[in-house]
Structures are given as structure tokens and as C-alpha cells.
């Protein structure tokens, strides 16, 4: 069934990503966009969804209306998942359904060491976006005999909860984050 899921996903991506480049009647699989365009568009969708969740769910229900909290331990606390957790769960679900692309949320200062950069491009990318706020990082890398286009986008502290959670967490390797700081990066990888 995995191929069906992949087909469905590919159709969805075609609609979302290729449509601007298509003309009426053109339904071929021929790529009409660059890997950079593709990762930029994917990131735009990801970041927009996450922002909507942060603003309309977490900010509204936790901070403004004080109806329910968001918590790292959302099951025990009967709480909302944190925006970063929602993002990670989405990345895991995509990973279960396709090898066409992958994404992850990594950091030079991860609370969970599994989220530290591993490849040289990931390390260079995270260092670059931290030193050049507002810019993205793009590179190609070969992993396991396959060449990938890898893009790294800054992930910033957008709310006091991001800062306090990371600064105060018992496993944090860094405790001086401020609002607006680059805390890590979204890494999107597409095989070429």
C-alpha cells in the first residue's frame, strides 16, 4: 500500500508545488522547478501550518483565553502538544509514507541529543543560519551513494515559552536563549 500512499502524496505535492509552472493540459511528471524552489515551498507550507497552530491554537487557548495549556508532557498533563512537537510528529509521519523527501528539526543545542546535526552539511547549515539571521543555507551532499539537495531554514524563539522551556530544561546544553534567537533549523532533504 505504500506505493498508493506515495502516489497520493505525489499528487498532492504536484498540486501544491508544480501548479504555478504548468500550463493547461500539461500533466506530465517532468520537473518544472528547481530543488531550491521545492524546498522553499515545502518550508513555506510547514512554517505556515506551524504558525497557524501557534497563533490560533496555542496563543489563543493557552495565553489569551487561558482554556488549556500546551505541555511537553501533553498526555500526562491533558494538554496541547507544543508547536515544535507537532512539527516533529508531522516529520515522522511523512517519513513513514515516503522516501521522496524528508525533513527534521535539528539544533546545535538540542535538548534531545538525537536532534543534533550529524552530516557536515547539517553542521555547516546550522552554523550558517545562526550567524546570518534571516538567511537560509543550501548545499548538496552525498549520503549512502545518493546525492541530496539539502536546505536549512532558521527556527527561532517566537514566544517566551520557547525560551523558558529550553533555558530551564534539565537536559539543555544552552541556557541563555532570548526571544528572536535562532534556536535551531529545519532541514529539508530531497534526493537528486
Amino acid at each position: 500500500m505504500k506505493h498508493l500512499k506515495k502516489a497520493t502524496l505525489a499528487m498532492g505535492l504536484s498540486t501544491a508545488l508544480v501548479l504555478p509552472a504548468l500550463v493547461l493540459g500539461d500533466v506530465s511528471d517532468e520537473a518544472k522547478f528547481s530543488p531550491k524552489q521545492m524546498t522553499d515551498w515545502l518550508h513555506l507550507v510547514m512554517s505556515s501550518d506551524r504558525t497557524v497552530y501557534t497563533r490560533l491554537i496555542v496563543n489563543r487557548l493557552q495565553n489569551k483565553e487561558k482554556v488549556i495549556k500546551a505541555s511537553e508532557h501533553f498526555e500526562d498533563d491533558k494538554a496541547l502538544v507544543l508547536p515544535a512537537q507537532m512539527f516533529r510528529f508531522g516529520a515522522e509521519m511523512v517519513g513513514e509514507q515516503t522516501d521522496d523527501f524528508s525533513y527534521s528539526l535539528l539544533s546545535e543545542w538540542p535538548i534531545n541529543k538525537q536532534n543534533a546535526p550529524r552530516t557536515e552539511v547539517e553542521k555547516a547549515g546550522l552554523a550558517y543560519i545562526a550567524a546570518n539571521k534571516g538567511e537560509n543555507y543550501y548545499a548538496t551532499e552525498e549520503l549512502g551513494g545518493t546525492t541530496y539537495f539539502t536546505a536549512v531554514y532558521a527556527d527561532m524563539a517566537v514566544a517566551p515559552a520557547c525560551v523558558s522551556c529550553h533555558n530551564d530544561h534539565k537536559d539543555t546544553p544552552r541556557s541563555d536563549f532570548k526571544l528572536g534567537d535562532v534556536m535551531g533549523g529545519v532541514v529539508i532533504r530531497v534526493p537528486l
Binding site: T51, R55, N59, V158, A159, P160, K178, L179, G180
Partner: protein, 98 residues
Amino acid sequence: MADYPEFDGEALQQGREIWLDTCEGCHGIGVAGAPVAGDHKAWAPRIGQGKEVLYEHAIDGFFGPGGTMMPARGGNEQLSEHEVQLAVDYMVRLATDK
């Protein structure tokens, strides 16, 4: 980091230091929907509400349209009300400086 101007007067110089330390992180490039410093168009309607409103929003926090959120004291609880006001004054000056 962008080169943010210095203005005459001790208050504006203090405000600049506070702003760089606490506010620039978001207002420098517009993180989380924050209006970018020096963007005259974005700031005009905000400044039009009067400084007392800006002070209040900066000190107490503010929920904007679409679920955006300005955290109280820019997320820096150690700032006094006066220090927040100095930072607001500097940001207003950035937005109105020709």
C-alpha cells in the same frame, strides 16, 4: 546585525541599548509577525494610537490580530516599566526618523 542608528540624548541612547538587547531579536527582521523596526508604513497606524498605548502594550503584552502576540516586556521580565518605555521611544524614533 543591522547597523541601527544612534540618536542624540541620553534617554534615546539608553533606549537603544535596551532595544538591542531585548527587542531587536524579533523586531529586527520581523519574527513571529513583529513589525520591523524602521518600517514606516507598518508603524504609522501603531504610532497613531499614541505612545501611551504603545507603552501599555509593550509593558503588559498584547494580542494582535490573527493570534499574534507581543509578550510582556518583550519577554524580559527584568526590565522596569521605565526601561521598556525607553526602548519604545527608541523604536518609535526609528520608525519616524527620515
